[in-house]
């Protein structure tokens, strides 16, 4: 089984591919980044950058490292220059990093979804068969226009979620279900019951996609009942698939880049 090394390559590749979508072919100065550099870059980022950009990389308006898009730095050379000089007129300061720090933080910014954990990845083609067959994922999820919309669309799930996160979801869907995705049950003022999946919520309103795939918005004070369920309707696949099948399924999910 390809384990850590493969996972790292896949993860790095995922980001390279993403940048490929964004910028021209010269988006990178290198074809590979050292896992050691990336891991070192994580510590540099947390010490120097996270205080403004946040651990999540999206706390400056218009900048989201998770997206893999760096508007002002299509190449590593530009990224180094930007970090070294700052951006005049903005809060982006100039940083005097040494060579190792600069190499590390650039490597990390280029590989935001980098995985440290060892992840078992199998064969994506076999995984697609399992996804559409034995695992019956298409009965709830949608991929590239196929399947219903009641569960989250997975067309680009391999871009937004690292492999370790996807694996945890396959094994423990209830424990890892993102709170915003939780199923909701509503009883309207006239007694009508509505079920669906939460898309957004604030103090006064909630937005859902209901079980008929309609986008609906409700004022909470107009509801007789509003219940957010914490049990995922998705089965725990560790009970249904063997280790190889899980690895294949995971490889397929990781391959879904939109």
């Amino acid at each position: 089984m390809n384990r850590l090394v493969l996972a790292r390559r896949l993860s790095v590749c995922a980001v390279l591919c993403l940048f490929g979508l964004v910028g021209p072919s010269d988006a990178q100065d290198h074809t590979e980044y050292s896992p050691t550099d990336i891991e070192y870059g994580i510590s540099v980022y947390r010490a120097q950058c996270a205080v403004c950009h946040g651990e999540s990389g999206d706390e400056i308006a218009g900048v989201d490292f998770r997206s893999g898009q760096l508007r002002r730095a299509s190449s590593d050379r530009e990224l180094r220059q930007l970090i070294q000089d700052g951006i005049p007129g903005t809060g982006m300061l100039a940083f005097d990093l040494d060579t190792a720090e600069m190499t590390g933080v650039v490597a990390y910014l280029r590989n935001w979804n980098y995985e440290v954990d060892a992840i078992s990845l199998g064969d994506a083609a076999r995984g697609q068969s399992i996804f559409e067959g034995k695992a019956d994922c298409l009965s709830c999820h949608r991929v590239k226009g196929r399947g219903p919309r009641v569960a989250p669309d997975l067309t680009a799930i391999g871009t937004g979620r690292p492999p370790s996160s996807l694996q945890r979801t396959l094994l423990d869907p209830t424990g890892t279900m993102r709170p915003i995705n939780r199923p909701v049950e509503l009883v309207l003022a006239d007694g009508t019951r509505v079920t669906g999946r939460r898309l957004n919520e604030d103090t006064y309103t909630v937005q859902i996609i209901d079980d008929q795939e309609r986008l609906r918005s409700f004022d909470k004070d107009q509801l007789q009942e509003f219940t957010v369920l914490t049990e995922s309707p998705m089965p725990a696949y560790g009970d249904l698939l063997d280790e190889q099948e899980l690895a294949d399924l995971l490889a397929y999910l990781v391959s879904l880049k939109g």
Binding site: Q48, A50, S56, R178, P179, T203
Partner: protein, 566 residues
Amino acid sequence: MRGNAAAQRIVLAVVVSVMVAAGLSAQVPFERLREAAAEPHNWLTYSGTYFSQRYSELDQVTPENVDDLQLQWVYQNAVAGPWQSTPLVVDGVMYVTQRPNDIIALDARTGRVFWIYRYNPSPNHRACCGSNNRGVAVLGDRVFMATLDAHVVAIDATTGVELWDVTLADMDLAYSFTLAPLAIEGKVIVGTAGGDRGVRGFIAALDAETGAEVWRFHTIPGPGEPGHETWEPCPPDPVTYCDPEAWMHGGAAAWLTGSYDPELNLIYWGTGNPGPDFYREQRPGDNLYSDSVVALDADTGELRWYFQFTPADPYDYDAVQIPVLANIERNDTEFKVMLWANRNGFYYVLDRATGRFLTGLPFIDLNWAEGLDDSGRPVETPQPPGEPTFPGVQGGTNWYSPAYSPRTELFYIPAWENYGSVFVGEPQEYRPGESFIGGRPTTYEPVPDAPTPPGLTRGPINDWTEEAGQGAVIALDALSGAQRWKFEMTDVISSGILTTASNVLFTGARSGYFQALHAETGELLWKASLGGQIVNGPMTYEVDGRQYVAVISGHSLSAFALRGSE
């Protein structure tokens, strides 16, 4: 109290009439600032008055008619980043700042612009956490602003022309200003930011006429000064990295506006965390005067007393919150107090003449301390490595202003609940001007990989939901600290609070709602969805007999007034 206020208003009206007759209508002498509560049609200081209660005697908008509030005007800007400024209003003219360091003079009735003063801070400034500016001060015929590159400027309030520009500190060492200055008699007072980049904090008073520095108080005492011993020498054989010069770059910034008691002639100012933020082992001792309130003689800047909330802080629990001053009568005794909801999750009541600790108790669930001892010092309960500490790094509250209503005698806190961080401290050598935090906090994720509340900015979708922290307005009895009511919100809050004589409380939400609550009960009275996050303090004023309530949401400054009140 109402009688006194009415009498003050009459006296002030006479004073103002005389001034107008003398052709001095644009003047805001110290006496007007001192009696600002008596002219509630204006909003003359960052927090409304020197007591910083964010309370107004205006009462046109009431719980009964607040539903009739109607948008009157909007001023929009195209500047990126959270807009954290609180406007001032002086006799119908509004002064508000926008990023990075612009001052805009507006007609407070229509929102139309008289002039814009643009100060271009050096692109090499090293202000942490965005190009924030929270507002201006007025005194005489001048407007004062402190800048991101550590300057202070004075502007002609009528023409917008710059009168002086002085440099107070070295921006290359990350000194910067993000606060609204405090103007008192003849002086303008500012405090530095940069506590996460290794500054040595200070509060400074400038001559309002010339800009010359009158005094400077270092929030970290130097060798030979009282308190310096709390930056203890490193042991001969330290088991971990210990910085023998920790006090020289130990933070204790003073990045929010202080308060002032003219009778005692004391200025009160909160100070920030010691640095590096998360690794206290390299700066042994209590690290005075970090995470403290200091009471300074307004004439000399000499320290009269201090109270430290979080000694040797490893959690970034800045104590820069606005010191709220109040005189409260109970059982025929008048208490001259300072009210303080701290980022560390405790609510404190201090005697503001002496600094004596009177009361302290948590206003949220927390686990970093099990309580306060008789002197107000926390009894710490550090959490095991990898376990969450509550409150998290953003705190139980933060820089957004609380409010106190002398009518309800309640203290109102914009609070974060059920929000924690896993702190990791790491030794870090100081490098001038660079981030100096000594580790990292990671927001506690009850659900693995799920989003957590963003620290500064919010998108249109709340994908962190109720799981990792919620916002609330918490109302406490000001003297006892007992909770009277709580208004819960789905998202966390970064808005200040305003209360009025008619018991209407205004506050905002990150989700963009502008909300009116009943100040006595917390009942929701009215709301408007303004779209952008509200990360500043709502304020109120009156023009031509009409009360306005102004708030900034996203990139829009909006003013509301009652339908039909024109």
